[in-house]
Amino acid sequence: MTRSFGLALFSSTLALCAAISASAAQPGDPPPGIAKIETVVVIFAENRAFDNLYGHFPGADGIDKASEESLRQRDRDGSVLSELPPVWDGLTAKGVTPPVTQAMTEHLANQPFTVNDAKGFNVPLTVVTHDLWHRYYQNQMQINGGKNDMFVAWGDSGAMPMSNWDTSKGDMWAVAQKYVLADHFFMGGFGGSFFNHQWLICACAPYYANADKSPAKPSIAVTDDSGTALKIADNSPKSARDGIPKFVSDGNLTPDFYAVNTMQPPYQPSGNDPAAGGDPLLADPAKPTTLPPQSEPTIGDMLSLKHVTWAWYSGAWQYTLDHGNHTPMPNFQYHHQPFNYYANYAPGTEARREHLRDAGLSGVSFIQAIDDGVLPQVSFYKPQGNLNEHSGYADIQAGDRHIADVVAHLEKSPQWPHMLVVVTYDENGGIWDHVAPPKGDRWGPGTRIPAIIVSPFAKHGYVDHTPYDTTSILRLITERFELPVLHGIVVRDRAVAANGEPPLGDLTGGLDLN
């Protein structure tokens, strides 16, 4: 871990003194100077792999450094595909300009392609493109033990996983150039947004007790003997060129009842309406996709325990409660609100009033708090749907500009001199990346995602190669505020070590705290 590297600089005499001093830094201790960070801000965008946005970033481990082997996709039988299958139903949806139909995506070479390449599809960053499967078991099948050669085979969108964008003119690219781009940051859990938001706050897999006797019983997945892949249906197309794979049961719950794909919050705002005649603040518990309230400790609980101020700022939270949801704006996403699954933050609790805050439409209330210098010690910011960069309903440019605007406000905030900002993505959105994730535990880490560290303490123009995952954010917060360590972090650290992988860092590798 980066925090122990500084010790190597000491002379042997000093090292001896350090060894006998009760107050000396030890491996595993917070890095010296971490207390200079007084305000932590986490901005959580959506569904982009590292190579998808930063694959050509100077100095980073990008597509240019990928081996030939890692660039080629294999078919479901393990053979190398002679060409990519088309993007089923087209790269852009019906009615979207420019139209890129399925027929236009036939016969793509078996390699990554750039969506906004002027000599290719020439689709600008302002256009919404096809969404892709980004699910727990499929992600593991696509990673294929680190070879990353089954993204097309076990996806639902043909060639789409091999897409990337030239974002070098984007606002956040400039922010990454100014501060720190972490190029070995992996999503904490396999799969999708629901699961990775849980990993951001809990480092845990939500649980549905007695699911086999509940309305969710049919949502229990059927896996093969490995337990890490879905059981393939008899009528599944044998080749990726012939169509989308079919599985016996591609459910939301593992066979032992952990919720790994999208379930709805038990409290409003939820995708599931209240039960007829029931409490209007709750989601109907009889719906198969309503997750029962969760009780695992979260980072919020740990912060509250130590009297550290914190909040989850959600774009369009109050708007949605007051007016319902609307598309294409704000397109509030119910399953992107992880604390709304926990009994400790149920409607009516003081904790909910204090910590689950409305960021306003387009983040206006969050930006006001930034400008006023009244952010709590730890803030999480979730942009509303149309500003989160998720394939299928959001374009890249709108979210990129919005987040860069938020960063610009943070840089001018009265709290800026002691601030650390992490801008990252919840998961890869089903999109290919060439770097093998570290071997961890049952739940992750998954595919590599972008992460940008913004701070007056950041090394300027630096690419940080330290291995991180989403739980690294929790490590940083835990160390800085001297919190009890969440169980999932302990399990993850032990699993990574047991697999002979280097330890996952605490995000301080790109900082100069001296």
């Binding site: 089923w88 139903d89 949806a93 919404v128 096809h130 969404d131 499967w133 639902d156 969108s157 999708g192 049919p218 949502s219 989308i244 939301n252 794909n261 999208t262 379930m263 709805q264 939820s270 995708g271 599931n272 309406d273 719906k287 198969p288 996709t289 319902g324 949801n325 598309t327 996403q333 119910y334 399953h335 998720h390 394939s391 299928g392 309903y393 959001a394």
Partner: protein
């Protein structure tokens, strides 16, 4: 329109499928999406959309919105 086609069109627009099962009568599929929309699609091709995200799904499927009160 069949269930596979509906799932393909809706999920391509970033609205994640959260549940798919045979309906109680056994004559069609019940689909649930992360937006809150539910789609009942009969084996005979009839489609009925309801729930919070219904409007967006109706638009994606090129279905007409039934007039209120009918």
């Amino acid at each position: 329109m069949d269930a596979d086609r509906i799932v393909a069109l809706v999920t391509a627009a970033g609205i994640e499928l959260t549940d798919r099962r045979r309906n109680v009568k056994g004559d069609g599929w019940s689909l649930s999406f992360a937006s809150g929309a539910t789609v009942e699609v009969g084996d005979d091709g009839t489609v009925r959309v309801a729930g919070k995200g219904a409007k967006a799904v109706i638009s994606l499927l090129d279905l007409s919105i039934p007039a209120r009160g009918t």
